[in-house]
Symmetry: C2
Subunit: 592 residues, 2 copies
Amino acid sequence: MYRAPVDEIAFTLKDVAGLRRALDEGRLGDLSVDLVDAILAEAGRFATEEVAPLGTVGDRNGPVLKDGAVTTTPGWKDLYRRWAEGGWNSLTGPEEFGGQGLPTMLSVATLEMWNSAAMAFALCPTLTMGAVEALDKHATDALKRTYLPKLVSGEWTGTMNLTEPQAGSDLNALRARAERAADGTYRIFGQKIFITYGEQDFSDNIVHLVLARLPDAPAGTRGISLFLVPKLLVDADGTPGRRNDVFCASLEHKLGIHGSPTCTMIFGDGFVAGEEKGAVGWLVGEENRGLACMFTMMNNARLAIGLEGVGIAEAAFQKALAFANERRQGKASGWSGDGMAPIVHHPDVQRMLLTMQAHTRIARSISFCCAHALDMARVSEGGEKIHWQERANLLTPVAKAYSTDIGSEVASLGIQVHGGMGFVEETGAAALYRDARIASIYEGTNGIQAIDLVTRKLPQSDGAHVHGYIAELAATVAAFGKSGIDGAAAAAARLDQSIEDLTAATRHLQSMLAAGETDRALAGATPYLRLFALAAGGACLARAALADPSPQRVALCRFFAENMAGDTVSLRGQVVGGADGLLAAGRHLVAG
Amino acid sequence: MYRAPVDEIAFTLKDVAGLRRALDEGRLGDLSVDLVDAILAEAGRFATEEVAPLGTVGDRNGPVLKDGAVTTTPGWKDLYRRWAEGGWNSLTGPEEFGGQGLPTMLSVATLEMWNSAAMAFALCPTLTMGAVEALDKHATDALKRTYLPKLVSGEWTGTMNLTEPQAGSDLNALRARAERAADGTYRIFGQKIFITYGEQDFSDNIVHLVLARLPDAPAGTRGISLFLVPKLLVDADGTPGRRNDVFCASLEHKLGIHGSPTCTMIFGDGFVAGEEKGAVGWLVGEENRGLACMFTMMNNARLAIGLEGVGIAEAAFQKALAFANERRQGKASGWSGDGMAPIVHHPDVQRMLLTMQAHTRIARSISFCCAHALDMARVSEGGEKIHWQERANLLTPVAKAYSTDIGSEVASLGIQVHGGMGFVEETGAAALYRDARIASIYEGTNGIQAIDLVTRKLPQSDGAHVHGYIAELAATVAAFGKSGIDGAAAAAARLDQSIEDLTAATRHLQSMLAAGETDRALAGATPYLRLFALAAGGACLARAALADPSPQRVALCRFFAENMAGDTVSLRGQVVGGADGLLAAGRHLVAG
């Protein structure tokens, strides 16, 4: 059973991702190390004792749709209420509307725990958080006053309604339409698919954020507006009243995250008898500027999805490590006890577990560093603010894509450590594997994250920001190499090679973009993102070993340097030398 | 929907794996190219038209156990009968007992198709095939006469009963017991788990091959005997009669292969009222030599499991390619048509599809080469026989582990190409991902395959056999490099680097083994197996491009060389330089 790794999370926040320095420098108001520790401890307790036991229930007893209403997994409605009452939903919410205004670092740290304990459950507040942010930034004061207090407290939840059957990655193709009503509101019509928690019984009301086109909107993404469409229309006194014309038509049958309802939502199909047609909506931000508003929400959602990868990886690692220490098969030279050896003594099993552990810690570190950058951007001004915002921009696609890719890889290794027991559902290793798989797809596929990294993030500050980041990685690795820690010099030399690979690949892609060779840059995007994560990851493990030079941390860093960091050589080769062959062979895939 | 790639399979058999030369040299009796083509065409038709449409039905409507009897997926019983009547079960069976005595190459080629169409269905005859082989090699003439004709025709099916709760990878721990009866038969007692098709309604009778210990047997694997235990005892005239005391107690709830019943089997628990206790069994081979008999069966089963990986990968590639040519999202420079581009035009999607295609073709090639070696060993004598047997031994763990690993990887990429549609079960991409996962586990986990490759196969012929194989790979790549085919020289140079990496890693492991540094060799086993497959794979793609220098084949070989073969550098680094760090870090994983 999952136990929240509170100490490791606290260590990573403070000593790898920069929270300790920010606190020491007084950058985060009156937040103290003691308060951080207290919050993490209580979150760890709640995740371990209250959420985790109900996680598997959701996998086996998913939500049921009947007459337009969704009944969620037994116990989850009550769990959600206790969770929200515990203040976990309001952690980072704006103080003006009842939130605690704490840093994003605490939000991602606790989010990791909820995701480890029950990713399908954690999805609901993840979306609410995005809605809070979008409304706080872009909605009118009247909308904020009506909706934000309830969304911040978690009494109501939020959803994102983007995808339509023909419009997934490409929102240009969006068809949902909005009409202006005489009273300044709008009427929304159309179908949205894959809407997570589009309908549920956790809360009295659901606040849908919906992308749609006005009749006179220009074509493409510059003609999309964002609307707030509540499930229940809210009376003047703030009470949810009559039913709006938005309904859940069906639930998807999915590979994983069975506990979360994935809804097809129908807007304005006249389900509400006797009412004017159309779902009543309110404009958020300006007309035709909805995509910009949605991107606010999506960027932070991307980091949040990265934490799904971290959470699954941590849960899978814990499960596999416990099994490997219990299960006995065969002989092993490291085992002198009676009978068969616990399989943790077999070198091949150790390779799997160490690979899982290294990936998990790196993904956590990169994600927390990204959150730190967001926090620093919020409390900075001028050039410093730009610096931290660019840092967050740079790390967001890496945190999302790498963490979710390794979420699946680590969960797969977790199955493998379990052998045949991993393939039967009762151990729970398979459920983690099924749950993890979606995170590489939604909130922008990992291919799109890689394209975002290459085409939008490498050019930041005329290409200088990324090289500044790489120089920081190199400095960390150099400090580790000179630390005098046993074995550090050799490990640092290998990690430094990865940083050199990252530098060369970065320069190559920047020169391709500068030359207008977009396709050749795009061809290398996915291997580049992985290379970026591994080079950064080596520096993260080195920083951890510098802060805490325990034999375990130093050994893990060395293992990574000798057994995982070498991949950057071939990844660099793909980025720098693989594009032409890819594009030439790719033509033969086109039908006809 | 899957369409059997009959032409590609025929090409790989003949021009990559060596069938054409063997036929030309008359090594395979009166088998002709025309007969091979006719068999493949008819198998392709049956797999495409008859098996594939019922594949998804099995995923959604798995077998049901009631009162000890299993009812399989609707339509599968009839499908199995038609399949067996078509002669597909008897393809390679011994002619003496009604088999067609065709080469293993045809068996693996058709097995790939059944696995693509419905892996859970194909599992049943895969196990029967193993039982036929074990009985043909090790059983008494009386047992052969009674059981082989029915097993060869497919009227009865076979199972393998090895695993017990405490004995998975390590058969030393086996506890099932056998007692000698006065009439020369035995009584078997015990519980076996994970027994594929241990109970079903396809056939009148089921022939269980069961490992158990005699009361006076030595401890460990030298005290295990193999028994034949029929579900129904066979009368003197060969008719199945009264029920034997072996029953299915429960079915597993699994991640995938939902169509196949995975049974817990209870032997000798007195279910048969009024009869003497114990399941009646007959000894196969000698007492206490059961493991050797089982290994005959297991080696070929390992190759067969490799074909599951190939079959899943092919099905996933076809599905993803079709989707990528239909689904439209975004703009792409290669697309000049109206509206959004089919996603096959996006470089990142091309990378995924080409990676899938290259892995699939390599896995097929290595598996077919392994089958070719088995066929040549059967028709050879003396040193040549030893050569081919060693070749088959060498390639078996690679065919099993690499093919099944890439089965999961390719199925995962297949989901990713589908985006959100890949995560919902209706597209079938997710089912392939779920089915594929078991193949890396059963019939010896892939970690065990790697250990087998390193510790048992590298030492063959005092270490010379593997270097002879590597020299053949190098010769193929050299011929490709000198072929004058456009781009071949550059690609060959990169493939040659992989072969150099393989040579270095092989020599390192051999020297570790010679020095008694077993743990350091074992630590590198898994990366070594992958390195082996990639180096061999490059030569396979080069051989294919030499035999058919079409732009598509040459381009795929170049893509592989530039974008996939480079991994051998870091894999070599792990094998040669990763062990000490792994073993040092591994110690920290041990609890307490």
